[in-house]
């Protein structure tokens, strides 16, 4: 019986580990600059030409005309640590097929079909989902 309980517990933790949790919402502007906001209590309101964003501990605003995308993110470190405006990134499928190099993540997203991809700047690798 004890072995069964160990097994069930392990199975539950494994299942929990597989469930994706997105602690952050990343806001990416047209220049590729990323701003991460924690999603707890995240609220966004359009106020004239700006987007007011607040969460349970912080707040900021973005000029709507300068906003490009926003995306839920699992990373504690904002993606700008991987991608910078001067470094090209390489894009691969999850099975390793190359989709080429792009000047920035933003440029890559504009051309990629919906799906999951692996991106790398040669030093760090991440997985993204293009919708």
């Amino acid at each position: 019986m004890k072995k069964l309980f160990f097994f069930l517990c392990a199975l539950a933790w494994i299942t929990a580990a597989r469930a994706v949790d997105y602690p952050y919402m990343l806001f990416i502007n047209t220049e590729g600059v990323k701003t991460a906001m924690r999603v707890e209590g995240l609220t966004m309101n359009v106020n004239g030409n700006s987007l007011q964003v607040t969460n349970s501990s912080d707040g900021t605003s973005f000029v709507l005309a300068e906003l490009a995308t926003m995306v839920f993110s699992t990373d504690e470190t904002p993606i700008e640590n991987v991608i910078d405006g001067e470094s090209p990134i390489s894009v691969y499928s999850v099975t390793g097929v190359s989709f080429g190099q792009f000047e920035s993540l933003h440029e890559a997203v504009k051309t990629l079909a919906p799906g999951s991809y692996v991106i790398s700047n040669g030093k760090t690798t991440q997985t993204i989902i293009v919708q």
């Binding site: 069930l8 299942t15 966004m44 997203v109």
Partner: protein
């Protein structure tokens, strides 16, 4: 034990943690679009004016607010929660791009895009005294009524309370444990308080109450099926349920009352092409057929000439319970130039009943139990009880209708200008192989079972107490088995307008006094009664000129009165005693029967071997004919009744037809 508790706690905690969902809610007016974080992907801003998420583009000026919470989103679902003069609509993100939502107060419209290729579930709940739900699209859908109370007072998109314009399969789930109520607007062009243009499949164990204020309560443009659900039609100007293609009930309950026309009506959809005939699994079937295999249907209709259950095609009943009452009188049909009357069960095609418990009561003038333009087949475990208590209805050349309670007066009217309160009226052949049929009629022209063609009885138990002929065939009538009790108070008991063949079975027939006979054939037309077998008791005698292959015996002449005396009074004496138990014994078999209060003067008996007859017996055994007989029977006491050879008797007019 302590370790076990810790392990359980850890397992539960892990599972609970794994179930947290993150959802981006985008609110525009009263509509909330819910995008699961795991599906949202990159959400694109355009020119500072638009935001596109999962293919759905929002004008930023339309967005009230956006927020992230832990709402679990069920894909492909739109939930509408009505609350007074408004409604809140939530749309799952994966279908957001495929729907266009319009709203005016509590009036909600959802239009599906033509490229939608997944089934949407519309979950409706809450209440409003002035609201509606309208949806249009080209893909099948599911409608969940989850405790919805909706009245459409001032229509915006449709006069119906719920209108599904999709010509596809619509699953209507009455959520178990809930009661929903729908009322349409008081005026308008809506065809039903609940209108579904496509085919509706009602399921789950919830309850739906419907009030139809303009036409039908529920109208479907294609087939209607029901399983488990409870549907109550509480009022309708037109029919309670009006559908097309076919109606199929497997289980559940339908109750219909307060309607201005028929209770349940099923028509052929494509009247240009006509019936497709029955198809395998009803695939693409358009027959106007009604199929009942389980559940309970209770229908009460009151309008003149209304039908409780009406099919433009056939009716097949293999199980379930049907209770139908009609109280309306007759009506003149100026299109068909015929007098019409109410009926519990009515089919333009054939009727086949092989199971179920069916009870029909008609009280209005001309009202019938079962009326069919095709054939009738009763078999297997069918149980049918019919009572008609109205008089006949007639129409004048101007079309005005009136009630006639005198049978002789009724005879003066042409067939198209009268309608009689018959138990069963079939325009083609009737075949009874098994089951139980009980028919009681008491009005002028009220035949028990009438077929405009042949009647074949080979099994079952048939009990008829009728005003007019108990069993009448416009052509040949054959009894080869079964148990038949046929008593007519004003005409022949068993009457064939062609030949009449008694080949087997148990037949107890009682006619009115002469010139009526217990068993009649159309000798005037050159036809004949053939007695070839069976166990027969015929009070009222047999038609003259009969061919008696099996010997028959009578208890005495019509004027002698011996063998039992007469009940007293009147100009016709009888050779039998009224209200007395008799025993007819042949070989080791005894049939005990109770004589009626009145009937034809001569008692004729016949059996497979020379019978003996006793009167005044005390019977026991297997009760038949609702207690009027025992078969097989055991008897004690009684006195022997002398019988003499019988070769035929009355040659009356053979009754009315």
């Amino acid at each position: 034990m302590k370790m076990k508790k810790i392990f359980f706690f850890c397992a539960a905690l892990a599972y609970m943690s794994s179930m947290v969902a993150q959802t981006l809610n985008v609110k525009t007016g009263n509509v909330i679009y819910q995008f699961p974080a795991s599906q949202a992907g990159y959400m694109t801003y355009s020119n500072g004016t638009e935001l596109t998420i999962m293919g759905k583009t929002f004008a930023l000026s339309d967005i009230s607010t956006m927020y992230v919470d832990e709402t679990a989103v069920k894909d492909s679902t739109i939930a509408v929660v009505y609350s007074g003069s408004s409604a809140v609509i939530t749309v799952a993100g994966n279908i957001a791009r495929y729907v266009t939502i319009a709203q005016s107060g509590a009036h909600v419209s959802v239009t599906q895009a033509d490229d939608l290729a997944m089934e949407i579930t519309y979950s409706l709940s809450g209440s409003s005294t002035d609201g509606e739900f309208y949806t249009a699209g080209a893909y099948k859908a599911t409608l969940e009524l989850n405790g919805l109370t909706l009245t459409n007072t001032t229509p915006v998109y449709s006069g119906a309370a719920v209108h599904v314009q999709n010509s596809k399969r619509i699953k209507v789930k009455l959520i178990t444990g809930t009661t929903s109520t729908l009322r349409d607007a008081a005026s308008g062009s809506q065809k039903g308080a609940l209108y579904i243009k496509g085919h509706a499949e009602f399921a789950q164990k919830g309850t739906l109450n419907v009030y139809g204020n303009v036409k039908h309560a529920i109208k479907t443009g294609e087939y209607f099926t029901i399983k488990n659900a409870t549907i109550n039609v509480l009022s309708a100007v037109g029919d309670g349920i009006n559908c097309e293609q076919y109606f199929l009930m497997q289980s559940g309950a339908i109750t219909i009352s307060g309607v201005g026309d028929d209770g349940l009506q099923c028509d052929i959809e494509d009247t240009t092409v006509g019936s497709t005939g029955i198809t395998t699994d009803h695939e693409a079937e358009d027959t106007g057929n009604i199929y009942i295999s389980g559940g309970t249907i209770t229908v009460a209709v009151t309008a003149a000439a209304a039908k409780a259950i009406k099919a433009e095609g056939d009716i097949y009943i293999t199980g379930g319970t049907v209770n139908a009452t009609t109280s309306g009188g007759g009506a003149w049909d100026s299109d068909e130039l015929k007098t019409k009357a109410s009926a519990g069960l009515s089919a333009d095609g054939n009727i086949a009943i092989s199971g179920g418990t069916l009870t029909f009561k008609s009280t209005g003038a001309g009202g019938k139990g079962i009326s069919g333009d095709g054939t009738l087949l009763v078999s297997d475990s069918a149980s049918i009880a019919i009572t008609t208590s109205g008089q006949a209805v007639v129409a004048s050349s101007s079309g005005a209708v009136s009630v006639v309670s005198n049978a002789s007066t009724l005879d003066h009217y042409d067939t198209n200008y009268k309608s009689s309160p018959k138990g069963i009226k079939i325009d083609n052949a009737a075949t009874i192989t098994s089951g139980k049929i009980s028919v009681t009629t008491s009005g002028a022209g009220g035949e028990g079972i009438e077929a405009k063609s042949t009647i074949d009885i080979s099994g079952g138990e048939i009990i008829v107490n009728s005003y007019d002929d108990a069993i009448n065939a416009s052509s040949h009538l054959t009894i080869s088995g079964g148990m038949i009790y046929a008593r007519a108070t004003n005409n022949d008991a068993i009457d064939a307008n062609g030949n009449c063949y008694i080949k087997g079975g148990l037949v107890y027939a009682v006619s009115a006094s002469s010139p009526e006979v217990a068993i009649d054939a159309n000798t005037e037309g050159g036809y004949k009664l053939y007695v070839q077998g069976g166990t027969i008791v015929a009070i009222g005698g047999l038609e003259s000129g009969a061919s008696l292959t099996q010997s028959c015996y009578s208890t005495g002449s019509s004027s002698s009165g011996f063998g039992g005396g007469r009940p007293g009074g009147g100009s016709n004496s009888t050779s039998w005693s009224a209200n007395t138990w008799y025993a007819l014994t042949y070989g080791d078999t005894t049939f005990a029967f109770k004589t009626p209060a009145s009937g034809g003067s001569t008692m004729v008996v016949s059996a497979s071997s020379t019978p003996t007859l006793k009167s005044g017996v005390t019977p026991s055994g297997t009760a038949v004919f609702d207690g009027v007989g025992y078969f097989p029977a055991s008897v004690t006491g009684g006195s022997s009744v002398s019988v003499s050879s019988y070769s035929g008797g009355n040659s009356g007019p053979g009754g009315r037809w």
